[in-house]
Amino acid sequence: MDPIISVKNLNKDFSHVTALSQVSFEVGVNEALALWGSNGAGKTTLLKCLLGIISFGGDIRVMNLDSRRNGKEVRRNVGYIPQEIRLHSDQSVWETACFYAAIRGVSKERSDLLLKQWGLDEARKKMVQTLSGGMKQKLALVIALLSEPPILLLDEPTSNLDTKSRLEFSEALKQLKKAGKTLIFCSHRMSEVRKTADRVLWLENGLKKMETKPDALQSL
């Protein structure tokens, strides 16, 4: 079966700093790939390249679409949750969900359904700036899931959460994988990687160090 994501010889430079160099990998349908590596290894940059929102060298195909040329189509099929959730603070939860629903071309009913599904129904009138970290993370997940994308990119999704919220979110990721989503997520937590990932891509200083199984990573 064709991979849902294929990356070949990916390069990215920021001024005089090499963020990614000759990175190649593939991800299959319904696979969960963890991006592992220290801060500055190039994990976030890799996710932004996959989304086609920054320029890069090499070739990226997401569902057979060229990320560089068909960035908009790629983003229609990808839900993205950044490390720091940045939403318009002067909007309510409901206004935020409806704004992104309109952009993604889905109905308000879909926003309503997802807010109920992810436990944000009672907070719909709350302003985004008053939400806790966990609730913001859930709202970001709601936005990412609005158009039912088959792929989710998550940049250290639990790094700013307390233990309870982290466990809840990890459980949510497992559910999403069961529902057939393909996941690529960055993480610094071995437990999270072992729990959710099928495979690990280890990056260091913009280079691919190795691709391995989560259990093998622990023994290294």
Binding site: L51, I53, I54, K72, Y80, R86, D90, I103
Partner: protein, 276 residues
């Protein structure tokens, strides 16, 4: 380019403008003063009552010159830098949208917010004038409205360049106010001084005047109201003699260039640098 997505972003921008304290205060001030000017337009002639459209247009000219550029600069200068500073631009770009749609939506949203303020101020005044003084010379008034829209868009385009070149909301606001001060006050005084010291020819003086979008607006409106540009002295006489009936179109083109050149520059800069 999906116009529907640009329209969604435009609506959001218009809502943001309504929540911008400075914009609301300046808009309210503009509406209040324009109505006052039309209601007390005859005071200068020693009588009370509503002036006609022609006289009101002349008295509104300086008010427009002060307030409309400020509206454009205040709105446009923070439009993109705020989103970038808060990180919401990245969230927006991660959606199925293109930078072109974001830019178009933001510019149109700001432009329609300025239109609404201009039409509100002029509209309320027009109702009062039409009711009490009739519709004589309404063409002069409509001409002022059209030039006001061009003036607002010119300063909005300049402000979008500012919004892309600076990194902080506060810097954008400060730069916007400096630009307003420069084009409305400093350039006028500077030009007067320069023309005396350098003994500028009428031709050089005329072209230096119309290079400033605010002055191009002023010359165009006064020239059209007076049906003559001689009020501007030697430079006005030079312009009338050499450019003749092309003078008004040249002033309109100047204002349009002030709208499109900064806008095109801002557009390409945004496309190339929106995230990297």
């Amino acid at each position: 380019m999906n116009v529907k997505i640009a329209a969604i972003i435009m609506k959001k921008e218009m809502r943001d403008a309504r929540r911008n304290r400075w914009f609301v205060v300046v808009s309210f001030l503009f509406a209040l003063l324009s109505v006052s000017f039309s209601l007390f337009g005859m005071a200068g002639l020693g009588s009370l009552g509503v002036a006609g459209f022609g006289r009101t247009a002349a008295s509104l000219l300086n008010l427009v010159l002060l307030i409309v550029p400020l509206l454009g600069l205040l709105l446009g200068s923070v439009s993109i830098v705020s989103e970038r500073e808060q990180g919401t631009l990245m969230t927006l770009l991660a959606q199925p949208v293109t930078p072109n749609e974001i830019f178009l939506g933001k510019y149109l949203g700001s432009a329609f917010s300025i239109f609404s303020t201009v039409f509100l101020g002029f509209g309320v005044s027009a109702i009062a004038i039409a009711k009490y003084a009739g519709t004589k010379e309404i063409a002069d008034y409509l001409m002022l409205v059209c030039f006001t829209v061009l003036l607002g868009l010119a300063f909005l385009s300049i402000a979008f360049c500012v919004s892309l070149l600076v990194r902080r909301h506060a810097t954008a606001m400060g730069t916007a106010i400096f630009i307003w001060f420069f084009f409305i006050f400093i350039s006028d005084l500077g030009l007067m001084g320069t023309s005396i010291v350098l003994k500028l020819t009428p031709m050089a003086l005329f072209w230096l005047v119309v290079l400033n979008p605010a002055q191009a607006f002023k010359v165009a409106v006064v020239g059209n109201l007076q049906k003559s540009f001689e009020i501007f002295g030697a430079a006005g006489l030079y312009a009338t003699e050499t450019l003749g009936r092309w003078l008004s179109p040249i002033l309109i083109v100047t204002l349009c260039l002030w709208i499109f050149l900064p806008l095109v520059l801002a557009f390409f800069y945004f496309r190339s640098r929106c995230v990297d």
